[in-house]
C-alpha cells in the first residue's frame, strides 16, 4: 500500500510553512494554554497611566469626607423630599406670578382707561362738550394753564349733542358716561389737561 504521508517520496509537498521551532515550543505552548498562563508576545506589562502628586496619600481623606457627608444628619431643608417639594412649589409660584403679571398687565386703571378713551375723541369736540356740559372743569383747566377765559354761554357754543359724537360711533362709549362716572375728579382733570392744550382751549373761547 502506498504511504501518502511519506513526504520523502512524495514529490508534491503541501505549500505550507511553519514558524521557527514550532514543534519544539508546541508542548510548552499547549501546557500554557491549558493552564491559562500564556502571555501575549511583544507587549509590555507597564501601564501608561499617570497620577496626580500624592494621590494615594490623599485618597483616604477624600473617601472619609465623602462618607462623613453621606452619613451626617441632614437638616430638615436638606431632606431630598423637602427639597423636591420646595422646588415644585417654587415652580408653581413662579408660574402663578407670571400668569398674574400677564393678566394684570392687560387690566388698566380707570385713569388709564379714561385717557385711552379720550384720546379717541377729536379735541375740538371734547372742548365743545366740556364748555357745554362741564364749564367748571374747563375753567379749572384754563386756570391751571394760566389762560384767562370767559366761558361762552350755551347759546354761543355750537351745540353738539352727545350722542352724535364720533366717539359714540367709533367706540360705543358715551363721553358723559366717562366724565360723570365714578372716576376721581382729579384724575379726569389730569387726563383732560393732557388732552387739551392751550391752543384747543383758546380755539374754544375764540372760535
Amino acid at each position: 500500500m502506498k504511504n501518502i504521508f511519506d513526504t520523502e517520496k512524495n514529490k508534491h509537498k503541501p505549500p505550507f510553512s511553519l514558524p521557527e521551532s514550532y514543534f519544539d515550543d508546541f508542548q510548552v505552548n499547549l501546557e500554557q494554554r491549558l493552564q491559562g498562563e500564556e502571555k501575549p508576545k511583544n507587549v509590555s506589562q507597564k501601564l501608561p497611566f499617570g497620577l496626580p502628586k500624592n494621590y494615594f496619600e490623599l485618597l483616604p481623606q477624600l473617601i472619609a469626607k465623602k462618607i462623613e457627608k453621606l452619613w451626617s444628619p441632614k437638616l430638615w431643608y436638606q431632606q431630598p423630599k423637602i427639597q423636591w417639594s420646595m422646588a415644585f412649589m417654587s415652580v408653581f409660584v413662579a408660574l402663578g406670578l407670571s400668569w398674574l403679571y400677564v393678566t394684570f398687565d392687560k387690566v388698566l386703571s380707570p385713569e388709564q382707561e379714561l385717557a385711552n378713551e379720550l384720546k379717541k375723541i377729536p379735541k375740538e369736540e371734547l372742548a365743545h362738550y366740556l364748555a357745554y356740559h362741564q364749564p367748571d372743569e374747563l375753567m379749572e383747566i384754563a386756570h391751571k394753564e394760566q389762560i384767562s377765559i370767559e366761558i361762552p354761554t350755551k347759546q354761543e357754543i355750537p351745540q353738539i349733542p352727545t350722542d352724535t359724537l364720533q366717539l359714540k360711533k367709533a367706540i360705543k362709549v358715551d363721553v358723559e358716561e366717562i366724565l360723570n362716572g365714578d372716576l376721581d375728579k382729579e384724575a379726569i382733570e389730569e387726563v383732560l389737561e393732557e388732552e387739551l392744550n392751550e391752543e384747543d382751549i383758546e380755539k374754544l373761547i375764540n372760535p
Binding site: 509590555s44 501608561p48 497611566f49 483616604p60
Partner: protein, 181 residues
Amino acid sequence: MDDKELIEKFKSESTKNYAFNLLVRKYQEKAYWHIRKMVIDHDDANDLTQETFVKVWQHLDSFKGESQLYTWIYKIATNESLGFLRKKKRKFLLPIGDVSKHLLRKLESKEYISGDELSIQFQKALITLPEKQRLVFNMKYFDEMKYEEISQILDTSVGALKASYHHAVKKIEEYMKKVNV
C-alpha cells in the same frame, strides 16, 4: 493587621473609623488600578474608587467572610466599573464600539497618560476587547490573580475564564501585529 482583625475592629463602634482607614490604605491601590484599567480616565477612576469604598463602608457589617476581603472589594470595584460603562452607553445611546471610541479618546487625551508607544498600543488593543474579556485579561495578566479568585469575582467557571483569557491573548497579538509595533 490581617483582614479578619480589620473586619472585627470595623464592627466595633470605637475602632470603626480606625479600621476603615487601615482597610482603605491597604486596598485603595488595587481597587484604583483595577478600575483605572477599565475606565482609562483618572477622574472617572477616582470617583469610582471613592464610590467603591463608600459601598465597602455601607456593607462591610454584613460581609460574611465567605470569600476573601480583597476579592469582595474587587467585586464591588468591578461592578462599579461595569455600571459606569453601561451608563455611558445609555447616556449617549452608544453601541459597545462607540464606548471603545470614547475610551480611546481618553487614552489619547494625554491627561495623566504617560507611557511609551508600545504600552499605549497595548492599551488600545485591550480597549477593543469585550468588557468581560478585558476584565479577565487585566486580572490575570496585570494583577496576576488566580483563576479561582477571578471566578469568585466574576461568578464564572475557571474553564470559561481560561477560554476567555486565551481569546483575549490571541486578539491582542493580532492587534499588535496589525499596528506593527
